[in-house]
């Protein structure tokens, strides 16, 4: 019986630019830690085996599966979640706004993972083709939208972001 003997680890990290600290057992994955220990429930869990992409968050700016990383591995790292995309007192950001305009979400459960993936994708390639976007989102499942409006929203957001850069 190892449960009572399970060591608690302290995890200090930066989440959405704010220093945070929590304690967890070693087996706790990052998505569960964010959700249940730091109460950032915007990151969703859809499969826990690294396929659906709903739990995607940024770690040091890179999109990763929150279920395929241990919380203890996030020590000292900078994590960005959906809650960090826009402050609660701010208007929606360009990408989020494009999602609403293009009806790129229905139930919204997969949406945080898709948005977080797109943050990195659009940073890497500000002018992606439709096919490049489809491939970039191949690690995110959506059962509601059929993807088309997601792609259209991402293309529109990319165009708007390019415009903002000028």
């Amino acid at each position: 019986m190892t449960n009572s003997a399970e060591t608690l680890h302290t995890v200090a990290l930066t989440v959405n630019d704010v220093p945070r600290e929590g304690t967890c057992v070693a087996r706790q994955n990052l998505a569960d830690f964010l959700r249940h220990d730091l109460h950032l429930t915007g990151t969703h869990v859809g499969c826990e085996h690294g396929v659906c992409g709903a739990c995607t968050v940024l770690v040091d700016g890179q999109a990763v599966r929150g279920c395929l990383m241990l919380a203890v591995q996030a020590k000292g790292r900078s994590v960005t979640t959906i809650e960090g995309l826009t402050r609660s007192d701010q208007e929606l950001g360009v990408l989020q706004e494009a999602f609403s305009q293009h009806h790129a979400l229905q139930c919204g459960f997969c949406t945080p993972g898709i948005l977080m993936t797109l943050v990195e994708v659009l940073q890497d390639d500000p002018d992606p083709s439709e096919m490049a976007l489809r491939e970039a989102l191949s690690g995110n499942l959506c059962r509601c939208t059929g993807y088309q409006n997601i792609i259209d929203a991402a293309l529109a957001a990319a165009a708007a972001l390019r415009q903002n850069q000028k």
């Binding site: 449960n3 009806h103 139930c107 191949s138 509601c144």
Partner: protein, 779 residues
């Protein structure tokens, strides 16, 4: 009055919180003292339980309780769940046990549950429960189930047949004798699971202050769930409230009260603590309903011109280990065969049988995709037999607009007739051909051939009854705050229903839809409700809201007319104000609500009734039918059997579109789900009925690169059956998809005689066909 909000693609009121990550789903709820449940599930498809030893599991630190059926029995009125959709002739014993009693009948069946301080600890303890099972022979397929000497899927039933029935009309056998062309087909259809990205989940939360149990569930049916829970737990409506937070998709899997919801609630009653159970993906594969297998053997005949004269045959439906909604899937599939075509004679013998696999109830489409696929395959085969073009034969058999409304001799599941209420099928068909540019297809095919690819085109049609009754509830209220609130038993799970209902309300009350609060999925706020199934909610709940909102409007106009000493006809409701038209004389809805609310001891103004609110239960007199035409172009790589979808056109009748963007989104989702069914998704079982696809790496849901652009055109033929003229579209996209794709594949290969008789179409199967084709043409 011109519509102000109906027909506009207004911004969804659901979006803001979902895009900020602040929308709350069931697993986001975290009440004080929360505990977590995990289930011990049957490891075998069929077996007799010798013993369950929970003693080791109970000793795991952090475990609060380990419970079997015997432990829950003090708070249960029954060991089993009732059948939700009762119909005549169903045998007893077809509803699931809340936890297994003496027998297990599918891998994944709930046997015991552990309540612990964390889900991880609960799972640790589950692994320590000693379950001793005597394995029994499983029924692994529905064809096997009806063979003589087959094992029984459940020992307490007399055989493996849930139901058998004949459906049809006319004199098929007579017409076959004289028919110009006859074909026969053996079709195997498989539809897997629902797989919303959020699985199921429930939180039972007892409140010691009120004595009320609140059950938060990710369900499509809050009120139905409450109804069954109070029955099974012996409670009344004041003691049990069901609420839904945001629901992360349903697609049919959540239109059922499951053993997990009952046992978690029962455990919470016993222990007096909040308990949460969140379905993981593996559990969704093992224990959430599926639609699965149907085997169809049909013959069809047409006259020399290609006009259908009849279809006859048999169908066996794999109901799985339990059929908690009776035989609706098999029934729907059988009634769907005629589709939008004029089929003069029809006879189908149906058997719904038990196997030792996950129970079945409808997944998005609900049997209609299967019936539709049969008809589309029949038309392809008859066209080939008659030497007709496959596109032309459909044109010759579609029901003409002059025949509308068109009644088929079939009855829907509820016993009412099937009448197509409106629509010009031929016009929609021609539009689809135009939109996919049929004329340019030959050029595109030639171009593909230069790249070594075989390009094909396919067209298919489907139609489904939507807007099932008997009613849906709606209360529209303007409170003393001036705020407009809508309460309904309808249940959104991603469709944007709140936005649509707010638009319908705004139309009558002249307020911004974004300022209207729509409350769904709370049994304390409205007494009745049926929830989200059968593409019904905009039709039925929308109509209830529309009627109720008009009633509130009339009340408001009446009060304002009295206040301003004006005619009711001279008052308009604009921007939250009641105004005498063409003047500055106005007051707010808030003031009117205060007047209607009255003051203690004082009379209400003459003719004014208390409150600015109305409740309506719209009862549709029949289902409303929206036809859909799908045209697809694809390319087949003859060397690998790979299919790449290139173009996809949909023309779909939605009646009147409340929010066109939302309607199109529904069609997109339905099409892609059905692309999964046609080409990718397969729920595998081995010869012991052990599931072999239990991760999303093995069960292939379509991802963005596999999906072409889907070009949706809405046809709006208003329904005469409801005040809004709307038709349901939640499932419409699923219907003709597989038929169109399979037809296009055969078209690409230049194949005749319906070589593809099984879906999903796998590349290795296509490769085999191509090889056989080469051999036979060489011979």
């Amino acid at each position: 009055m011109d519509p102000r909000f109906i027909g506009q693609s207004v911004r969804r009121q659901e979006d803001d919180s979902l895009l900020r990550g602040t929308g709350k789903f069931v697993d986001d709820l975290d009440p004080h003292g929360l505990t977590h449940a995990a289930f011990l599930r049957s490891p075998v498809a069929h077996g007799r339980i010798r013993s369950i030893d929970t003693s080791f599991a109970a000793q795991v630190p952090g475990v609060i309780a380990v419970l079997t059926l015997a432990d829950l029995r003090p708070v249960l009125t029954s060991d089993r769940l009732p059948v939700q959709f009762k119909s005549d002739g169903l045998p007893p014993n077809i509803g699931p046990y809340i936890l297994a009693k003496e027998e297990v009948v599918y891998v994944g069946e709930t046997v015991a549950l552990v309540i612990a301080e964390s889900r991880a600890i609960a799972e640790d303890a589950v692994a320590l429960i000693d379950l001793d099972i005597e394995e029994l022979d499983p029924v692994t397929g529905c064809q096997q189930a009806v063979q003589p000497g087959a094992p029984k899927a459940a020992l307490d039933r007399s055989n493996n047949i849930y139901a058998q029935f004949d459906m049809g009309y006319g004199d098929v056998d007579q017409t076959f004798a004289d028919a110009a062309h006859r074909v026969s087909l053996a079709l195997v259809q498989h539809r897997g699971g629902a797989h919303p990205i959020e699985g199921r989940g429930v939180l039972a939360h007892p409140d010691p202050m009120s004595g009320q149990m609140t059950v938060w569930s990710s369900t499509q049916q809050a009120h139905e769930a409450r109804g069954f829970l109070i029955e099974l737990l012996g409670l009344d409506e004041t003691l049990l409230r069901v609420r839904t937070p945001e629901v992360g998709g349903g697609f049919g899997a959540k239109y059922l009260l499951y053993p997990e919801e009952v046992s978690v609630t029962a455990a919470s009653l016993l222990l007096g603590r909040p308990i949460k159970w969140i379905e993981d993906r593996r559990e969704h594969f093992l224990a959430a309903i599926q639609e699965r297998d149907q085997f169809w053997d049909v013959e069809a005949a047409c006259d020399a011109s290609g006009k259908l004269v009849g279809i006859r045959g048999t169908m066996i439906h794999d109901g799985g280990a339990y059929v908690p909604q009776g035989v609706n899937l098999a029934y729907n599939a059988a009634t769907a065969v005629p589709g939008p075509y004029d089929l003069p004679n029809y006879k189908l013998s149906v058997q719904a049988v038990a196997t030792n696999k996950v129970p079945t109830i409808p997944v998005r489409g609900a049997g209609y995709p299967e019936g539709t696929f049969v008809m589309e395959r029949v038309l392809d085969a008859l066209a080939d037999a008659a030497g007709l073009d496959r596109i032309e034969i459909r044109r010759r058999n579609l029901i003409p607009v002059s025949a509308m409304p068109f009644s088929t001799p079939l009855k829907s599941r509820s016993g009412s007739g099937i009448t197509y209420d409106s629509g010009d099928f031929h016009a929609m068909y021609e539009q689809a051909l135009k939109e996919i540019d049929l004329d340019g297809f030959a050029d595109r095919k030639a171009k593909a051939a230069q790249a070594g690819l075989l390009r094909g085109i396919g067209v298919a049609c489907g139609i489904k009854g939507t807007g099932r009754g008997p009613y849906e509830s709606a209360t529209v209220r303007i409170g003393k705050s001036g705020k407009v609130t809508v309460f309904t038993g309808a249940m959104p799970m991603g469709q944007g229903l709140k936005t649509a209902l707010s638009q319908i309300t705004a139309e009558s009350l002249g307020v911004d839809p974004g300022d209207i609060t729509v409350v769904c999925g709370d049994t304390n706020t409205i007494s009745l409700g049926l929830g989200g199934f059968a593409s019904r909610q905009t039709v039925v709940a929308g109509s209830s809201v529309s009627v109720a909102a008009k009633a509130v409007r009339d009340q408001a106009l009446h009060i304002a007319a009295g206040l301003f000493e004006a005619d009711v006809g001279d008052i308009e409701l604009v921007d939250g104000m009641a105004r005498v038209k063409g003047t500055e004389i106005q007051t707010s809805l808030k003031e009117l609500a205060k007047i209607a609310g009255g003051s203690p001891g004082y009379s209400l103004p003459t003719g004014v009734t208390p409150g600015l609110e109305a409740t309506e239960y719209f009862m549709p007199t029949g289902l409303t039918y929206g036809m859909g035409v799908h045209a697809v172009e694809l390319e087949v790589d003859a060397e690998t059997g790979a299919v790449t979808l290139q173009r996809y056109v949909v023309v779909n009748d939605c009646g009147r579109a409340i929010n066109p963007k939302i309607v199109v989104g529904q069609i997109h989702g339905g099409v892609v789900h059905a692309i999964g069914n046609a080409l990718f998704e397969f729920m595998g079982y081995d010869e012991q009925a052990q599931p072999t696809t239990t991760t999303l790496a093995d069960y292939l849901m379509p991802t963005a690169p596999e999906i072409p652009r889907i070009d949706v055109h809405l046809a709006e033929y208003p329904s005469p059956l409801n005040p809004l003229g709307v038709k349901g579209v939640g499932e419409a996209g699923c219907l003709p998809t597989a038929g169109a794709i399979v037809s296009a594949i055969e078209n690409a290969l230049g194949a005749k005689n319906n070589m593809i008789q099984r879906i999903p179409v796998m590349p290795q199967d296509l490769f085999q066909f191509i090889q056989q084709g080469k051999q036979s043409s060489a011979a």
